[in-house]
């Protein structure tokens, strides 16, 4: 049993995600997001999801966070004078967020939890995933291409200097 390694990774992930939410400088928030995403990729490897772990780094850490950093730098954002919402909102938000976490953990504790199933050696690789993707999930897969096309067109139009 190597549970201590999981605990260490989990604590690091929570710490990095708290940096995302609480740091005053948006650039540090983005760096915290990259750290969180990398740590999640490590956790995915721990769950035998090797292809998903690789894609997590390539797509999330590589593409999406770079997009965030680009926009932060284009807007030339400085450290905010006032980071958080007004105090009543912050208290409400913190209480609601905490309650959500407690409620979810409570539901987890109530039901019998799944144990790791026995899987074959190829589990989590490209082949079994592609096999599902191109048979059972072919329609959503094709719809995803339409979604991405629409998103590209939308981003290009919105990115123009002047909207007419």
């Amino acid at each position: 049993m190597i549970a201590p390694l999981f605990v260490l990774l989990a604590l690091l992930t929570v710490a990095a995600s708290l940096v995302v939410v609480l740091h005053r400088n948006p650039v540090y928030s983005a760096l915290g997001l990259v750290t969180t995403l990398f740590l999640l990729a490590v956790l995915f490897v721990g769950l035998d999801a090797h292809l998903v772990a690789a894609l997590q780094i390539i797509v999330y850490a590589g593409a999406i966070v770079v997009l965030f950093l680009f926009v932060i730098m284009l807007l030339n954002l400085q450290v905010e004078p006032r980071t958080l919402a007004p105090a009543p909102l912050v208290v409400t938000g913190a209480v609601l967020g905490g309650a959500l976490g407690v409620a979810t953990l409570g539901v987890l504790g109530r039901d019998p939890l799944p144990l790791a199933a026995v899987v074959g050696p190829g589990y989590g690789g490209t082949e079994p995933l592609a096999e599902r993707l191109f048979t059972a999930y072919i329609v959503p897969f094709e719809l995803t291409s339409v979604l991405l096309l629409v998103a590209i067109i939308g981003a290009v139009v919105l990115g123009k200097k002047r909207l007419s």
């Binding site: 999981f6 995600s17 928030s29 956790l43 894609l55 965030f68 807007l75």
Partner: protein
Amino acid sequence: MLTLAPPAWYLALSAVLFAIGAMGVLIRRNLIVMFMAIELMLNAVNLAFVALARGMGSMDGQVIVFFVMAVAAAEAAVGLAIMLQLYRSRATINADEVTTLRW
């Protein structure tokens, strides 16, 4: 095969991460940081999907993670373009100063 912990532990971590993300959306007013908190929530859900896929020994959860990633990429591209345009016209990305659509 490397086994760090039972899938249930991952589910607990996923719940904590989702709560942190939800808290971030509620307490921050910077639109970009709120956006990052949404990405955090999407990732927490991805972790739950992968953990449950491992628990059931099926690949379907990992396929769903693919779709979540594609939707997150599309959402980030369009959302950040909207923020860029907003900053050009209003010179702010503070959610409290953009309230035209608020009821």
